[in-house]
Each structure stands twice: as structure tokens, then as C-alpha cells.
Amino acid sequence: MEIRFAGVTKQFPPDIVAIQDIFLTISKGEFVYLVGPTGSGKTTILRTVTRELLPTKGQVTVGDVNIRKMSSYDLAYLRRDIGVVFQDFRLLPSLTVYENIAFVQEDIGVPPADVKKRTNDVLDRLGLWRRRFLYPEQISGGEQQRAAIGRAIANSPSVLLADEPTGNLDIHTAEEIMQLLLSINASGTTVVVATHNQHIVDAYKQRVVELRKGRIVRDEKKGRYEVDGDL
């Protein structure tokens, strides 16, 4: 699915402008890094794609549909096709790691046998097999992050939005996660990664969209984390 921002501005009351005049098109199957300093608007951009936030101005189009006009029912179906790794994970505290990954599939009515198979598969890929019966508060930050990634990819979505997916991981694990994201991208999923991780961005060169104070200041194919002039 293509994601298109047409003049999107999001202002929070009273006058905090989180993003301003964003024009951005992310094609189907693309891999994009969103970079920029803290508070530059990366999370806000991702949150408008799932309509968790409604733009104050402008339009967000996902797969040819202006999501502002979607019914809540259609929106639910769109969201099932967009995997989100939240910056703060948002794992459900009352569910085990296994259940956290399983429930998004259950929400959409995947038969129990398939849920089991897929969930176990994801747990295995993310190295969480031995943690599957633990609750989020019982596992480390990095493990929680991997569980959040597992939940986002469990439904094999068309779009994967990952907000700081390597934030709590050591370099080695971060690289593993990147390999995973790239392989998901290779299978046709559009992937958008908001990140501060310079090492990753420079090591796995992809399109880079840089934000400053809510505006796009750079959009570069196979870009680096920072333009040379910034160094």
C-alpha cells in the first residue's frame, strides 16, 4: 500500500506544532528511515498513518483511501494490515508474551490452530521462545521490544511502522532485528522505521527522510544518518 501525506500539519493545543506541511509519498514495498532529533515529529507522522491522530490540516492517504473519511469498521480492517511497533511497546501487561503476539491474530479471527503455529514461528524468529509464558514486566526491555516487533509482524501486514525498534537493543541484536525488517521488506511489505540509530542507518543504506522541528529537511535515496555537513 502506498502512503501519501499531502500538506499534513498536526497542531496540539494550545500551539504545539508537531509536524508542519508534510508532503511525502512512500511507495508500496519501500523501506524508509525517518530520522531527526527528539521532538522533531517522527512519532507524530507514524501516528497519523493509523489515524490514532487526525491531522489538523492536510490529508493522509493509505492505499488510495483518505483515512479521515473511513468508517470505524473500515479503519479497523486497515489497521490490521498495518503492523505497528510502538515506541513505548504497549504490550498488554495482563497477557503473556505468547498471548501478546497471539491476540492481534485473534482479534481478526484467525483460527486457533493457525494462531498457534504463526505465534510459535514468530517467537522462534525473535528468540523469545523461552520467554513465551512470562509477562511483560518479567522480561528485559530488549525482550519487550522484540515482543512488540513480534506482535507487529504476526499478521504479515502490508505496512510495517516501527518506532525506534532498536532503541533498547545492543548493536548485535539491533543488527539481527534489522535483518528481520529487511527480510520482511524483501517479501513486499512497506517498512517505515523511525530511528536515532546512526549505526544502523549508515550500515543498511535506505531512503532517509529527515525531520527538523516538524518539517522535512531532507529526503535522500540510500542516504546516511546525517549529511556530511552536520558532522
Binding site: 493509523t50 489515524r51 490514532e52 491522530l53 487526525l54 470505524s72 469498521y73 479497523a76 480492517y77 486497515l78 489497521r79 490490521r80 494490515d81 498495518i82 505497528v84 504497549r90 498488554l92 501487561p93 495482563s94 491476540f103 492481534v104 485473534e106 482479534d107 481478526i108 479471527g109 484467525v110 483460527p111 486457533p112 506482535r151 499478521n155
Partner: protein, 295 residues
């Protein structure tokens, strides 16, 4: 189908997670439905009592002592729709009855050479409210010397019965309102406690109904179980109450038909389902509509 299973499992999670709250709600709804059942039984019994007394209600018209006059009055009485039976009681018959009632002391009556008892027409009325009209008309007949009937008592009984019915309606209303409030609140609290989770579920693509239904079922289960338990309770305690009452007040004619009590139980359980469904649906759907709003 899978979805249904997931919903049921989530319902169970809700009930067990907030088990203290669930238990409290359950107890409240048991108490409320018990109260409703008791007030229903009270109404039914007063109605039944009034009906029984009414069935025994006899208007006694004392008539001048001539067979023709007796016939006239009897014929006139039979013309009313509200009269169920008419019977002529001659002087001799009246004396017989008195003897039977007095037993030994009846000897005194035999000492009189002449039978002092007047003949009468006994009129059985279907409902007490019609009695006063008949009495008025009978008294205006020249053949009739006097009319005796226990109308005042019955009319008072009817008034009490309608008062009891109204009182019970008030009790019914108050108890249903409080049951609804408690259920509504329980569902709201348990939804509120999972605010974040509901948000997350909606963000990853759960439909509103998928999120709402566990809460609705939670409410329905609490309401239904409450009503069911109270109905069972009612069954046994009513049996016990009847037994005790009939031992101490044997003349009191009470409702003992098990069919009536079973039907009452069915009404209570349906009310439980309905109240549970409506309240929890209102609480959950409102909450989830707010939660799913984009900012």
C-alpha cells in the same frame, strides 16, 4: 467461530481479573432480584387472598315471609351478570344451620315454639365491587326487609391489595434502577481499568464489537447468575415461609402453586439477562466509542 471463542475467553478473563468486583456485583444483583421476587410474591398473595375472600362473599337478603316474595327476589338477583349463584334459605333451613353452628346450646332454640328466623335469599357475588350495586337495588325492593353482607371488609381488602400492588411497583422500579446502576458501574470500572489495553487493541485493528462483547457478556453473566441464584433462593425460602405460616396461621389461604413460582423465576431470569445486556452494552459502547476516537 474462532472469534466467538476468543470473546468468551476474554469474558472469563474480565470476570476473573476483577473477581472482587464481580462478586460484589453478583451479590448485589442476587439481593435486588430477591427483593423483586419477594415483592412479586407479596402482590400475588394479596391478590389471591382477596380473590378467595371475594369467592366466599355472600349477600344475604332477608325477605318478608312468603314463598312468592322469595321467588321474586331470587329471580331478580339471578338477572345480574356479576352474581354467580342464588339460593333460597327457608326459615327451617336457617334454624338447622343455627343448630349446627351452636351445637349443645341449640337446645335453647328448641324451647321456642315458633321459629323466629326469617327466610332469606343468599346471593354469591363474583367480585366485591359489584356487591354494593346489587345491595342497593335489592334494598329498594318492597319484598326485602334487610340486606346483610361483609362488603365493607372486602372493599377494604381490595383497597389494600391495590395499594400493595402500587407499593410493589415502586419497589420494583427502585430495585431495578439500583441493579442497573451497579451493573453499569461495574462494567465501566472494568473497562476503565483496561483503558490502555482497549486503546492498543483498537490500534492494532480489533473491531469495536470484538472489544465490546466481552464486557457485554460480563454484564449478562453477572445479571443472569444474580437472577438465577435469587430465583433458587426464592424457591426455597418461599417454601419455608409457607410452611411456617401455615403452621402458625392455618386459616390463611396462601399461594402454593409451584407453577406460579416457577414462572416468577423465569421472569426474574429474563429480567436479569435484559438488565445485564442493556447496562453493560451502554457502559461499554460509550466507553469504547470515546476510546476509539482519533484526536
Amino acid at each position: 467461530m474462532a472469534t466467538f471463542r476468543y470473546i468468551l475467553r476474554d469474558t472469563w478473563r474480565l470476570l476473573s481479573r476483577h473477581w472482587g468486583l464481580s462478586l460484589l456485583t453478583l451479590l448485589t444483583s442476587v439481593a435486588v432480584f430477591f427483593l423483586v421476587g419477594v415483592s412479586f410474591l407479596f402482590v400475588l398473595n394479596t391478590r389471591y387472598l382477596v380473590a378467595t375472600v371475594e369467592g366466599d362473599l355472600v349477600v344475604q337478603a332477608y325477605v318478608v315471609n312468603s314463598p312468592e316474595a322469595l321467588e321474586t327476589v331470587a329471580r331478580k338477583a339471578s338477572t345480574y351478570d356479576s352474581v354467580s349463584s342464588v339460593r333460597i334459605v327457608t326459615s327451617d333451613e336457617a334454624l338447622e344451620r343455627l343448630r349446627a353452628r351452636l351445637g349443645k346450646q341449640a337446645e335453647a332454640v328448641s324451647l321456642l315454639d315458633e321459629n323466629p328466623l326469617p327466610p332469606s335469599v343468599e346471593i354469591q357475588v363474583k367480585r366485591a365491587v359489584f356487591a354494593s350495586v346489587i345491595v342497593r337495588e335489592l334494598i329498594s325492593m318492597p319484598e326485602v326487609e334487610d340486606v346483610v353482607y361483609a362488603g365493607a371488609v372486602v372493599e377494604r381488602l381490595e383497597r389494600i391489595s391495590s395499594f400493595v400492588a402500587r407499593l410493589s411497583l415502586v419497589i420494583l422500579f427502585i430495585s431495578m434502577a439500583s441493579a442497573s446502576l451497579v451493573l453499569f458501574n461495574t462494567i465501566r470500572i472494568s473497562a476503565y481499568g483496561r483503558k490502555e489495553e482497549i486503546n492498543t487493541m483498537l490500534l492494532v485493528g480489533a473491531t469495536r464489537n470484538f472489544v465490546i462483547f466481552p464486557y457485554v457478556f460480563q454484564g449478562v453473566i453477572l445479571g443472569t447468575c444474580g437472577a438465577l441464584i435469587s430465583a433458587v433462593f426464592l424457591w426455597f425460602s418461599y417454601g419455608f415461609a409457607i410452611e411456617t405460616l401455615q403452621r402458625s396461621l392455618p386459616f390463611l389461604d396462601l399461594l402454593t402453586d409451584p407453577g406460579v413460582i416457577l414462572r416468577l423465576g423465569a421472569v426474574l431470569v429474563s429480567a436479569g439477562v435484559a438488565v445485564g445486556w442493556i447496562c453493560s452494552w451502554l457502559a461499554a459502547s460509550r466507553f469504547i466509542r470515546l476510546a476509539s476516537r482519533s484526536h
